[in-house]
């Protein structure tokens, strides 16, 4: 019986005596012997495979108890009933003990594997690949999203522009002293007529004229994009930077609407409690022209000793104003019918304020140690 040979490996000693139970005449004593032997062995078994072997040995089709039941026919009829009941009871007993032992073995083996599988959870994880949008992109999106929520669309325009759109259509004719406000990088362009000048746009404002030329009011758009100036760089100036321009034109648009729109923007960008303030400023393409400040979110407008607002309690964040009638006339709009407002801001400045960046030159130096912080 090769099967019994295998069993020797698992159940040491004393089993073979039970392997031919059918030869015996079953008795109450023999059943108790089986229970005693089986229980003793059961306690010493440590793994599930051996438990299964044990089950076969005692409870299986050719197991000890089965043999007892099969041997019932060979005993007195008077004893048969009692011994049969004992045998069945013994079967239930052994099955219960097996179940309990299986539970115990499972529990012990789980404990062992828990110990074996323990990790040093303080070791760093397997690095995932990291990538983020440039902080300017993030802020530009945030700004645009704030206006999109107020019904504005987002459009873009060319970075290389005609003088016509960058200046003339914006009420800054040739020779106008206000041109000094924008130190311009001119493009080397050989115009056969010698009339057109090409440049790197100094602001996103040329899109005001382009958008208005291309459609009728009502208009609500924001225009993000790169701008260029002939300017030395320092901690607060870059020759290459972004702007977000905004424009709303329609019937009955007033300075009060400008205030409301920009107030809503300020709250979305800088928090619900923000206050806004306007002061008079000059841009040739708006009249009246203003500069908008928010109360400082770092010191809550307190000002004293604040590095962000330099003690003032206020932070200038954008220029704005009612679109100059000459700009509206220039694109062929009826100035008696339509009014509008425009605004423009520097996303780098806003990012610097929000994130506490002290030098604008970080933005386009592309040091990954900077970029990865955002």
């Amino acid at each position: 019986m090769p099967r019994d040979q295998n069993l020797r490996d698992y159940i040491p000693g004393g089993i073979l005596s039970l392997t031919e139970p059918s030869i015996q005449r079953p008795s109450a004593q023999s059943i108790e012997d089986i229970i005693a032997a089986a229980s003793a062995e059961l306690e010493s078994i440590q793994d599930l495979a051996a438990l299964d072997q044990w089950r076969v040995l005692y409870l299986g089709r050719r197991g000890a108890l089965t043999m007892v039941l099969r041997g019932l026919a060979s005993i007195e009829v008077s004893e048969r009933k009692a011994v049969g009941a004992l045998a069945n009871q013994a079967k239930t007993t052994l099955e219960d003990r097996l179940k309990e032992r299986v539970r115990q073995v499972n529990e012990e083996s789980l404990k062992i594997s828990e110990n074996r599988d323990r990790l040093d959870v303080t070791l760093p994880g397997r690095p995932a690949l990291k990538g983020s949008l440039h902080p300017t992109t993030q802020i530009v999106r945030e700004i645009c999203d704030a206006f999109v929520a107020m019904g504005f669309g987002v459009v873009e325009g060319p970075e290389v522009e005609w003088d016509h759109y960058n200046f003339e259509m914006l009420n800054i004719p040739k020779g106008h002293p206000a041109r000094d406000m924008w130190n311009t990088l001119w493009v080397d362009y050989d115009d056969p007529e010698k009339e057109k000048a090409m440049l790197l746009r100094t602001h996103t404002s040329p899109m005001q004229a382009r958008v208005m030329e291309s459609r009728e009011p009502p208009i609500r758009v924001v225009v993000p994009g790169k701008c260029y100036r002939y300017e030395a760089t320092d901690a607060t100036h870059e020759w290459h930077f972004y702007q977000v321009e905004g424009l709303a034109v329609g019937e009955g648009i007033t300075f009060a609407d400008l205030k409301g729109t920009l107030y809503e923007f300020a709250r979305r960008m800088f928090g619900e409690e923000r206050k806004i303030r306007f002061r008079c400023d000059y841009f040739p393409f708006v009249e009246p022209g203003v500069d908008m400040s928010i109360d400082c979110f770092a010191c809550q407008g307190d000002g004293d000793g604040c590095r962000i607002c330099r003690d003032s309690g206020w932070i200038e964040i954008m220029g704005a104003g009612m679109i100059h009638p000459r700009v509206l006339e220039g694109v062929g709009y009826d100035v008696e019918k339509y009014t509008g407002f425009a605004f423009g801001m520097g996303p780098e400045r806003i990012a610097m304020l929000k994130y506490g960046i002290d030098d604008i030159r970080h933005f386009y130096a592309n040091d990954l140690r900077f970029l990865r912080q955002f």
């Binding site: 397997r126 690095p127 995932a128 690949l129 990291k130 990538g131 983020s132 949008l133 440039h134 300017t136 992109t137 999106r141 107020m150 019904g151 669309g153 987002v154 290389v160 040739k174 020779g175 002293p177 206000a178 000094d180 406000m181 990088l185 493009v187 080397d188 362009y189 115009d191 790197l200 009011p217 009502p218 609500r220 758009v221 002939y230 030395a232 290459h240 329609g250 019937e251 009955g252 648009i253 007033t254 300075f255 609407d257 205030k259 303030r277 306007f278 002061r279 008079c280 000059y282 009249e287 009246p288 203003v290 009612m322 009638p325 009014t339 386009y364 592309n366 040091d367 990954l368 140690r369």
Partner: protein
Amino acid sequence: MKISLSWLKQYVDVDLPVSELSHRLTMAGIEVGEVEIIGGWTEVFVGHVTDVRPHPNADRLRLCVVNTGNEEMEVVCGAPNVAPDQNICLAKVGAKVYNTHTERYEILGPAKIRGVESQGMICSAVELGLGAENDGIIVLPDDAPVGASLDDYLGDVVLDLELTPNRLDCLSVLGVAYEVAAITGKEVVEPEASYHESGVPISEQVKISVADPDLCPRYTASLLQGVTIGPSPQWLQDLLIKGGLRPINNVVDVTNFVMLEYNQPLHSFDYDRIKDATVIVRRARLGEKLTTLDDIERTLCTDNLVIADANDAIGLGGVIGGANSEINENTINVLLESATFNGANNRETAQAMELRTEATLRFEKGLRAELAPIALRRATALIQEVAGGTIAPGIVDIVSEEGAEPAVVTLTSGKIRRMLGMDVGLKQTQETLTSLGFTWEVEGDAALKVTVPYWRNDVNIEEDLVEEVVRTIGYESVPTTMLSSPIPFQHPVPVMNLRDKVKDLLTSAGIQEVINYPLVTLQQLEQVRQLDTEALPIRVANPMSSDREYLRTTLRASILGTLAANQSHSIGPFRLFEAGRVFTPREDDLPDEKETVTGLLAGLRHEPSWLEDETHMDFYDAKGIVELVFERLSVNVTYQPAEDPTFYPGRCAVIETSDSVVGMVGEVHPVVMERLGLDSPQVAIFELYLEPILAALPESQRNFEALPRYPSATRDLALVMPADVSAGLVTRVITGHRGVHHAELFDIYVGENISEGSKSLAFHVYFQARDRTLTNEEVNKSLDGLLRTLDRELNVTLRV
């Protein structure tokens, strides 16, 4: 523009603290930058020297008796210019003065100098922080109030105004005074300008004509005779210095003073050096020469306006005077000019000559012509006051039609409501305008006919007046409302949406966005072998520096530069991309700005870690990214071997849709790597061209494909083929075969058991039908067909 508060106070009462004044000016659009405090002295007084005696123990020192009003004290002084009967600045013990030896401010203590007790110090300019002068003591004017605190007498506050180009008026002290008056509700007192005339009328002594009134709408002049040229009185010099100008002589100083006071630039000619006493205001003759006050001989053209005598130009109108008519110490008779010049022409001339003078700064912005005679009379009176002489009766005043009309603008309350979204009462409007110096007449019941004062050149239309009103009453009084007009339909901008989507895909694939300058050098383009010397990129005409001269035609140079810069402090992995525009010139038009995304992968495949291997990224990492992008965009593309000078031959593919090139992917050529000093085994680059991708986007982004309802059957095929048959081609044939759903390439093998010049590719091939479970026979039949096709078309056979 620097404005001295003490000067300002000569015209308007200022009782606000400086910080409040600065704030309110700033809010009204006159931004106050730096505020400079002059003085701030304690224990320094105006003293009077009553006696000067030699020092008993030192030749170079003297003992001065100084009266400070109620006491006399003895002070040791080493200055060579100290003399009896002078008013001086006396620092008493306890004063803080600058010590030129220690180069620090120090508190003055009692001192014995060469054995004599000194009870104070007579100060030089440098000791009081009033300038660099240290050769002698400051001698105060005779009318200085002896005994007064010097801070009360000389102390001042100078406001540095950061003016916007429209507010020309605030380049003058009076202009600022009117602004302050409007803010504070005070009145401005303009200076006296009356004088006594005598002798022969000016009209008989000089002949003036304006030949080109378009460039000179108004020309006024006066004549002073018998003046004495010399230094200006101290008060005049002090104010000029505070205004940022250098004193020269009394006549020139007055012209500069009146310019700072009224804004009107004036010019003084030596009358006796004007040939034939004739002045002609005309365009210059082509090639005409003029040596200007800065001793430069300039060659003029007909766009330049000159002031000329009978023969030659004697000044460049409104820009700079000529050396040939300059006031000097021998000048006796002065012809004083106060004129209005055409702003645009003045600016053009000044720019052409690279001469931005105080005069052009003002003329170019368009001074009002009414100002010319006002300033002329003020300056004439003042010159007589400081330089003596007599004034010839009358002035010359040549004014063209457009010259002298004051600007009149109508303002309606309807306009105010339409612009601001609120009503401003007529009375409040009137008061506001009056406070700013505007005059008005009521027109009907809701309009004002407003006359703009002579010092304001920036108010020309009704909207300008609305701004005057709102900036004065304050923007906080305007209500805050939301746009109530209908929301326009916003047409999507497909290329922006695509760019955003690609950016998001790339960052989520672990690639960092960078943004570079679009201006590059030719060398940078040459380094990545993208310079076409036949068609140079667009050039900036006035580059700031040679490294920012050309508009880039590729993003590769910039992003490789970013890699090189970051390799100095990191070993990677470097996974970068930039989304930007490249510029190509177009005939008679703005350049084509092509939206491009260029990505770069270099260095370790994973962050250095205790877990990972140390392999480096290569071509296939880049291609994997590209595949991800096109998969997510639902654009079907193919990859074809390509040649591109930037890339290593044989490791470069062009990405194509059925009708256009939509990208490139490849490993950077070792030559390029070496030129840029790149320190990686290889650098892989991918490039996506957004416009053609846009054209290839499916109409609707995605169509749901039903999940398979029947199981697939798999067969593994090990195939042998000539080495030059591409995996892409074999894959395409397999997946295109009838019955095949898809295939996965899982092994590539070259070596033992494979003949020279061949390679083996192994695929899992999945067979599947939509409508039923394929039988074994069907799968085998399909497979047989596939093997026959592979053999026939590509010389691919089953490996045995």
